[in-house]
Symmetry: C2
Subunit: 441 residues, 2 copies
C-alpha cells in the first residue's frame, strides 16, 4: 500500500494533476480519507520527499516540490508497418525459419546444467574456454585452420572482430589496409573509422589479385568465396599473398564468412592453415546458424593474441549461455549435422536457380563458384537498373552488384544482380524464384 500510494502520488505530480507547490493533506487526514494506517501514508510521503517529489517543512506541511515539470503519460510506440516486399533476396541472412530451435534449446539445457558457477561471472576476454576448445577442433576438421584454443578470440560478429583488429593495427602504427574491389562497404567504413586508409585490390578475370603494394599493413580477403563476386582464390594467388605477408610482415585478414558452403566439392581449406603466423582467420555463426546469436571467432597469430585481447577489453563482452550452448552444439555433433543439412538446402536452391535461368533466361550468366548463400547473375551491359526495377515490380528485394563496389569508378564489372537465395523459407523459395525469373526474362 505504501508503495502503491507513493506511485499514485508520483504519477499525479508527473501528470500535472498535482501542481508544483500544491499543499498535500496531512498524513493523518489522508490516512483517514483512504482508510489507511497513518504510518503508511507518512512513509509514502517520506519516500517521495527523499526522491525529491515532495517537500516537507515544519509548519508548512507537505507540498509538491517547486521544480517538478509535469510530463505526459508515456504511450507505447506504435509499430510502424514494415514496408518490405514479399521476397527478400538481399544476401546476409541464412534461412532463419530453418534455425534448429529444438536442438539449440536442448544444447542450452545441457550447457546450463553443466556450467560451473564462475562461468556466470565476468569472463575471460577471449571467451569461454569450452567454446574455444570446441572451435579449435571443429575449425581444424572443417576448415583446415591451425590454432590452439588460447589464440582464439570470441567476438560478437565479424564486424566486432574487425573493430578489434583495426584497433590493434592502429595501435601498431599501421596506416592502411587493402580491401577487395567488391565487398561490404560497411567493413571499409569500419576500417576507415578506425583511422586506417583503405586501398583497393583489383578484380581481374581470375578473381581478386590479393597481393597489395609493399608497405601495405594488412589485407582483408574472402579467399574461399569472394564476397559478393563468388570467385575462389586460386592456388598460386593463395601462395603469393602468403609470400607477401611473410616477406613484408604484413597481416592477412581472412574473412571466411561462408566457407562451410561449397556444393561441387570439398570446401577449399582456410588460407590460415598455410601460414598461421601471418593470417587472422575470421569465422562466424551468422551464416551457419543465425546473426542474432552474435557469435563469431578469430584465430589469431600467437604474436597478435595479447594485443587483440587487450583491444577487446578487460571483460568478455559476449553473453555466456550463448557461448556455452554453441560449445555444446559443436561437441555434440549437432553443428556439423546442421551444416550438412543447410548445405543440401542451399545447394538445391542454387541448382533450381541455375536450371530455371538456363530454361527461361538463357542470356543471364551465373558467375562464381557453386558455393555460399548467394550468387551473381551477369546481365547485359547497361541493364542493371532496369532489371532491378522489374524485380521490385515482382515484389523482390534484390541488390545490384554496383551496391558492393568499393570504389565506384574502379574496374567495374559488367552489370549484374547479387541474388541471396538463403533468406526465403523453403515454402517461399519457389515463388521467389519464379518472381526472379519473371524479372529476368
Amino acid at each position: 500500500m505504501r508503495r502503491a500510494l507513493a506511485t499514485a502520488v508520483r504519477e499525479a505530480v508527473r501528470a500535472g494533476r498535482l501542481a508544483p507547490g500544491t499543499q498535500l493533506p496531512s498524513s493523518r487526514q489522508l490516512a483517514a480519507d483512504l482508510g489507511l494506517a497513518r504510518n503508511t501514508v507518512a512513509d509514502a510521503y517520506a519516500d517521495l520527499v527523499a526522491e525529491g517529489w515532495l517537500t516537507a517543512h515544519r509548519g508548512s506541511g507537505t507540498r509538491v516540490a517547486d521544480r517538478i515539470t509535469p510530463r505526459p503519460i508515456l504511450a507505447r510506440p506504435t509499430v510502424e508497418p514494415s514496408g518490405t516486399p514479399c521476397y527478400d533476396l538481399i544476401p546476409g541472412n541464412p534461412d532463419l525459419t530453418a534455425f534448429p530451435r529444438t536442438a539449440w534449446l536442448k544444447a542450452t539445457r545441457r550447457a546450463l546444467a553443466a556450467a560451473p558457477d564462475d562461468a556466470l561471472g565476468y569472463g575471460d576476454p577471449r571467451g569461454r574456454p569450452e567454446l574455444r576448445a570446441a572451435l579449435a577442433d571443429h575449425l581444424a576438421r572443417a576448415r583446415g585452420v591451425y590454432v590452439s584454443p588460447e589464440h582464439i578470440l570470441i567476438c560478437a560478429g565479424v564486424s566486432h572482430g574487425l573493430q578489434i583488429l583495426s584497433r590493434v593495427l592502429a595501435g601498431r602504427g599501421a596506416g592502411n589496409v587493402a580491401v577487395e574491389a567488391y565487398g561490404l562497404r560497411s567493413y571499409s567504413r569500419l576500417l576507415g573509422a578506425a583511422g586506417l586508409q583503405t586501398l583497393l585490390l583489383p578484380l581481374d578475370t581470375h578473381g581478386i589479385d590479393p597481393v597489395p603494394p609493399d608497405g601495405t599493413d594488412a589485407v582483408l580477403l574472402t579467399p574461399a568465396h569472394q564476397f559478393p563476386v563468388g570467385t575462389v582464390l586460386q592456388r598460386d594467388r593463395r601462395m603469393a599473398v602468403v609470400d607477401w605477408a611473410r616477406r613484408t610482415g604484413g597481416l592477412v585478414l581472412e574473412d571466411d564468412y561462408d566457407g562451410e558452403f561449397r556444393f561441387d566439392r570439398q570446401p577449399v581449406g582456410a588460407l590460415q592453415g598455410l601460414a598461421p603466423e601471418c593470417v587472422v582467420y575470421l569465422g562466424t555463426a551468422s551464416n551457419t546458424l543465425a546473426p542474432g546469436l552474435r557469435l563469431a571467432w578469430m584465430a589469431l597469430p600467437p604474436t597478435l593474441a595479447a594485443e587483440a585481447i587487450a583491444a577487446k577489453g578487460q571483460v568478455d563482452s559476449c553473453e555466456v549461455f550463448g557461448q556455452l550452448t554453441m560449445a555444446e552444439f559443436i561437441t555434440s555433433g549437432a553443428y556439423s549435422g546442421h551444416i550438412r543439412a543447410a548445405r543440401r538446402r542451399y545447394r538445391d536452391r542454387r541448382d533450381a536457380l541455375v536450371a530455371a535461368l538456363a530454361q527461361h533466361a538463357p542470356k543471364v550468366r551465373v558467375i562464381g563458384a557453386a558455393a555460399g548463400l548467394h550468387t551473381v547473375l551477369g546481365l547485359l551491359p547497361g541493364t542493371e537498373q532496369q532489371v532491378l526495377q522489374s524485380a521490385t515490380r515482382q515484389g523482390l528485394r534484390v541488390a545490384g552488384l554496383s551496391r558492393y563496389r568499393n570504389e565506384p569508378t574502379l574496374n567495374a564489372m559488367a552489370d549484374a544482380l547479387v541474388v541471396g537465395y538463403g533468406v526465403p523459407s523453403d515454402a517461399a523459395w519457389p515463388q521467389a524464384l519464379s518472381a526472379l525469373v519473371r524479372a529476368l526474362s
Copy 2:
C-alpha cells in the same frame, strides 16, 4: 575417405613428415597401396593442390609445395591452477550459486518458442523490442524511471553503455566528465580513453557533492548507493544536480548498479524520474542476476537517443536469446520474485555482518546505507594495510577503500575495508564472516 586422406596428408606435411618438394606416389599407385578408388586419391590430391599444400605439374607429378613450413602438432593449453584464496569478498559479483538456472531455462524455452523468425536476424541496434517494452514497465514500477521503450538502449554491460555515451559526448565536442571521488577506476580509465578529461566530485560528511563546476559537460553519479562508500544522495543534492543540468545543459549519467537492493526502506527512486530530459539512467542485470548475461540498459533523454544509437553501431551487438529470455523473465514476474529473494539473502548477510562486528569488533564502524551487495567498514587511522594483511592470512580476498579512490591525494577518507558480501555462497558465507571477524578483532 577423400576428406580423411586429405587431412592425413595435410597433417603429414604440417608435421614435417612429408618435406617440401617431396614427390608423392601417383594417385593410381597410392590407390592400389591403400585399396581405395583411384578417383578418391585423385580428388584428395586435387583438394590439397587447390589449398596450396601440394603442387601438380604435368611430367613431374604431385609434390609437396616448396613454401610449406612444418609446425608442431598443437597441444591443449594446460589449465593454470587458480591461486584465489577460499573466500572472495571483493564487490562486483552477486552470489553466482544462487542464479535461478531452472527459472531461466524455463524462460529461455518460452522465449525460443515465441520468438518470431526475424528476431534471429541482425537486430535493431537498440535491442529487442520485447525487452525494451518489459524494461520500460519494470523500471517505472521498481525504480521510478520515466522512459518509453524506443528510448531504451540495450547494451552488454554498464561499461559498454559508458563507452557509447563517451562517444556521444566526444562527438558533441564535450571535453570533460565529473566522476565521484571514490568509484570504479575502470570507468574513469574508460572515459579517459575516449578523450574525455575527468574532474573529481568531492566527498564530504553528507556524501558526494554532485554539482560540478559550470562548464562541465557531464557528471557520472551513483545516487541510490554511492559506490563504494555507500551513502545515498540527499534530497537537496538530487535537486541541486538536476538544477545544474537544466541550467547548464550538462548531462547526468546515473549509474543505478544496485538500486534494487535497499534493506531498511523502499529503494529511493531513480534521479532520472525527476528529470528524464537531462539524466541518462544506466541499469544492469549483473548484480541482480549475473554479469555473464552481459545485459545492461540505458534510459536515454529523447534528444540523445539518435546519437547514442548511432554510436552503438548499425547492428545489435547483444545476443538475441538472452534478450528475449530476459524479457520473458521480467514479464512473467520471475525477475521481481528473484530480486525479492536476493534482497532477503543479502539483507540477512548484512545483518549478520553488523551483528558479528558489534559483538566481536566494536571499534569497526559500518559506513553507508543498509543497501547493496557490499558495505564499508571504517578502521582506525593507519590500519588499512595491516588489516588487509591479516585478512589475507585468514584466506580472504578483500579490498581496502583506497583501491577505489579516484585521486589518491584528494580528500581521503579514514582507512576502511570494502566488504562485498554478495559473492560467497549461502554455505560459505558463515565461514567467510568468521574469517573476516578474526581478521578485524
